[in-house]
Amino acid sequence: MKLMWFHLMPYMALPEDFRQRHPSVWVDISRDLFDPAQAHRMYNEFIDELEYAAQVGFDAVCVNEHHANGYGLMPSPNLIAAALSRRVSDAAICVMGNSLALYNPPTRVAEEMAMIDCISGGRLIAGFPVGTPMDTCYAYGQNPSQLRARYLEAHDLVVQAWTRREPFAFNGRFNQLRYVNIWPSPLQQPHPPIWIPGGGSVETWQWCAAQDYVYSYLSYFGYQAGRQTMAGFWREMDRLGKDRNPYRAGFLQFVGVARTRAEAEKLYREPAEYFYGRCLHVDARFANPPGYVSEATLRAKVRSQISQAAAASALPSGFGSGGGPSFEEIIAKGYVIIGSPDEVAEKLKEVANELNVGHLMLLLQFGNMARDLAFENTRLFAEEVLPQVRGQFDGEWEDRWWPKPLARERRAVPSVPAWEAAQ
């Protein structure tokens, strides 16, 4: 099994009365809440945390893309990935990912990801989300009725840009380019592994199966809520005649490890309540741009007797403007798994088995968790949890969706001559 360390880069200084005083953490969040001097410290600490995770043995470090968002300070995850790719490490760099329809032309994504793949020596995982309504339709003004068609076309363009050997013209419905010819090419051939983060639509599962891509279910609501979705995914793979290779799937889970469960309860209460209370406070105004959810998915949801209100909303349940959940509820519902290393290891093995997921993406920093605690959580996980769970699925299944970097000895080592400034 692959253990991947995922950072959302939440702004850590949202005020305590954020829910009461502000309508939304996303799209129209007040600029007055953003202090660039504090963000300077946060960004650097977050990069420290990612570098530490790569150093202590996680299989990958993961970054993602959000816009106008108080819990995700990475409008451009490629910038962070670029910073990480300078460190010599075997950890994969998972950009989870670039919302393809937002880039004009989308060859920009092909270029930047090829750069990251070259700089890192072939360690890139290329994630391509459609993107949430908040990011794409509101913050980036994309037409919800055209978003998916643009996304699919941009995907085709990026893959062709990576794989075709001669300059070519691309005459798409939305993109017209006379000369597509990216420099550099990606190091991994024919291209870096492509993963698709999704929210549980059947069309996405079918597309991942057809393209042989990893489907990654990125929910903030843990393994209990994820069961139904992942069961649906595997039923669909069965129906399509695909094997049950757990490496076809990724799954996101919040985790807090401490010496004892009692200590974990003490340490992780505040960051968990901060995340689920302040960070997921999204105004329902931005939940449902018409056309974002396809008519086929709407109809399937109406037919499957999910309430119409739920079917009509593109916003995952759990987001909202009601009161935030208590820590007890967060733990009871499995949003965050906490405990001693042995307890957490047991639970994660169970989750990986039950959901049949070979790529576990872990949020070990969440909410306003300070760097020291994030380090401690990461260290304990690496030393005492990781060895217990890593062997899962070994020998049974091959991970065909993992980066194939250059051999260590062929990789460049950052090196600058020593220099002392004359006083």
């Binding site: 339709c137 509101y138 003004g141 037409n143 919800p144 009725s145 055209q146 068609a149 419905r173 939305f174 105004d283 329902a284 105004r285 931005f286 741009p289 018409p290 056309g291 008519e295 709407l298 109809r299 109406v302 037919r303 119409q308 209100a309 009509a312």
Partner: protein, 263 residues
């Protein structure tokens, strides 16, 4: 059907290979009608009042109730061409045209670009312009339940307009409503500025501008902006007690003003 008398006759035409419904009622000189944000989920009292004097022809734009094919239309030019196809398929050839809201912006476009098609024009709170001092309200970023009070001065008027008729499948009805919202968004997202203003100097047909005094989406100030930009003779009539869907709420007054202008 609401309103007095029998409902309209129905036939289907094809636009870009997709079916679009034509509703028709009344006798006499024809007047064509393109509906607004929610389309025409049912016949209205406004159309009945017109049909007492004229043959009213109401084609459904792609994606609005009775029409499909909005997902092929990527640009304002695609929408204008589809509107021309639709009006021609409905038999329009030098006739009067009324367009409301979304239908209003497309009615203005065809009158500007195909002047032979349109004799006289009535625009009811048309979209298409953008004034940064009073930007159009973002109808696609609203909390659940806010729509009715946004579109109509009296929310009950809107609720009754879009309520599923007896025997309709509620799931399919709600999908059709979402489709209408998507079709409007497809043309107007994100600012409802289609750059129509650049073409209004070509609009030479006599044009009546009707506006609900309580329009919460396009402030009545837009009437003056259209009034200034349209090349032909114009008149502005503000209807008290009506919101954005002014012909729905102030049916008799709107119909009287339109009939006066068109006769």
């Amino acid at each position: 059907m609401s309103g007095a008398g029998d409902g309209p006759a129905e036939r289907m035409v094809s636009v870009n290979g997709s079916p679009c419904r034509i509703w028709e009622k009344g006798r006499g000189e024809p007047v064509f009608y393109l509906a607004g944000l929610a389309g025409l989920p049912r016949w209205t009292g406004f159309l009945d009042a017109l049909a007492e004097h004229r043959r009213v022809v109401a084609p459904s734009l792609p994606g609005f109730p009775g029409g499909l094919g909005h997902d092929r239309l990527d640009s304002p030019l695609d929408w204008i061409a589809a509107t021309l196809d639709l009006l021609e398929a409905a038999g329009m050839d030098g006739a009067d045209l009324i367009g409301a809201s979304v239908g209003g912006t497309l009615a203005a476009e065809v009158a500007a670009l195909a002047p032979g098609l349109v004799r006289r024009l009535v625009l009811i709170a048309p979209f298409g312009l953008y004034d940064e001092s009073v930007p159009p309200t973002d109808v696609w970023a609203q909390r659940p339940g806010a729509e009715a009070a946004l579109l109509c001065h009296d929310p009950a008027a809107f609720e009754a307009f879009v309520a599923p008729p007896e025997g309709a499948d509620p799931g399919e009805w709600s999908i059709a409503r979402t489709r209408a919202a998507e079709a409007a968004a497809r043309l107007l997202w994100p600012l409802a500025d289609t750059r129509l203003e650049r073409r209004l100097h070509r609009l030479r047909a006599p044009t009546l501008l009707l506006w609900g005094a309580a329009d919460r989406i396009l402030a009545p100030a837009y009437a003056a902006r259209f009034d200034r930009a349209i090349a032909g003779r114009t008149e502005v009539v503000v209807l008290p007690g009506a919101g954005h869907l002014a012909d729905l709420e102030a049916g008799p007054a709107a119909a009287a003003a339109a009939l006066r202008w068109l006769s």
